[in-house]
Amino acid sequence: MTVTEAIDPLCGPHGLRTVRETFARLYDALYSQQHLPREVVELCRLRLAQLHGGADEGTGQTITIDAERRAALSGWPSDERFSSGEKACLGFAEVYAMDAGALTDDQAEAVRAEYGDAGLVTLIEALGVLDGLRRVSLLWSDVHLRERD
């Protein structure tokens, strides 16, 4: 779900132009930064989508998780197809989505051990954007612009 897809049903493709464009630049930067593998970002996006429910939409980014790993994602804790770094991030993402205040130092340290301080900060930033857009899409998922006419 891109920011454009999230808000087009509300204001059309030309509405809120400056905000949408700056949001999109942030979103793109999260998938092109050098601190956390973009595949990890995408796995977290997919897991957040599973947790929140609703249809899974593409990112608009050129990143693909192979079908086998996508299908196995909900069982990541015990699945060897996910690396220790991926598991650390997915575990962090799950708690983040429910209550950021419930995150433990151990969960943060597990991410930091794999990807460093910058990787942990990147993960937290990415979860904020991905979780936020997912929520926006759920709030307005069946709104069609013509309803506003």
């Binding site: 509300l10 905000v19 942030l26 983040y96 205040g101 900060v121």
Partner: protein, 171 residues
């Protein structure tokens, strides 16, 4: 909430709360965060006081000590007094907040607590009171504030309390 910061960052001392924070460890996104914050406050149809209502409700729900203590000067100048801020509590529906402000609080709660469960009647009420562009603006603003406050909570190291402080949009 983590008593100690979870990221090792000695930081800079420019006076810019974003650029002096651990977010500076990710320069690829920092400028975009600053730019987006500025755009949300200055380039959308909602008034700053209305944006601040949403931000403070989010701050309460996410329990971000920093966000709860901050007051954006642009919102204060737009009329959001402390008397009105005190109304953004659990008894907000019985308060003297305007109908639009009450809807903003309720929308923020749905965003945070049950985004898939927003009733159709409430959605229609929002659409009667706000334009589509205003609703898009509100949605992205709450998304931004939610991410920002969760970031602060997740990074850890915030004290249990902070005095109220007026801040400006970071540049």
């Amino acid at each position: 909430m983590a008593a100690q910061p979870r990221v090792r960052y000695t930081g800079s001392a420019t006076g810019n709360m974003l650029r002096d924070s651990a977010l500076a460890l990710v320069p690829e996104t920092l400028d975009h965060y600053v730019e987006l914050g500025r755009a949300l406050w200055q380039d959308g149809p909602l008034r700053p006081a209305e944006i601040e209502v949403a931000r403070l409700r989010n701050a309460q729900r996410v329990n971000c000590v920093f966000c709860r203590s901050a007051r954006y000067d642009i919102a204060v100048a737009d009329g959001l007094s402390e008397e009105r801020v005190d109304m953004i509590g659990d008894a907000y529906m019985d308060s003297d907040l305007s109908d639009r402000e009450k809807l903003i609080v309720a929308f923020t709660d749905y965003f945070l607590l049950d985004p898939a469960g927003m009733p159709q009647e409430f959605r229609e009420c929002l659409q009667r009171s706000f334009s589509g562009e205003e609703l898009a603006h509100l949605s992205l603003a709450v998304a931004y504030f939610s991410g920002f406050s969760r970031c602060a909570v997740a990074l850890g190291g915030m004290p249990d309390e902070l005095p109220r402080m007026q801040i400006s949009i970071p540049e």
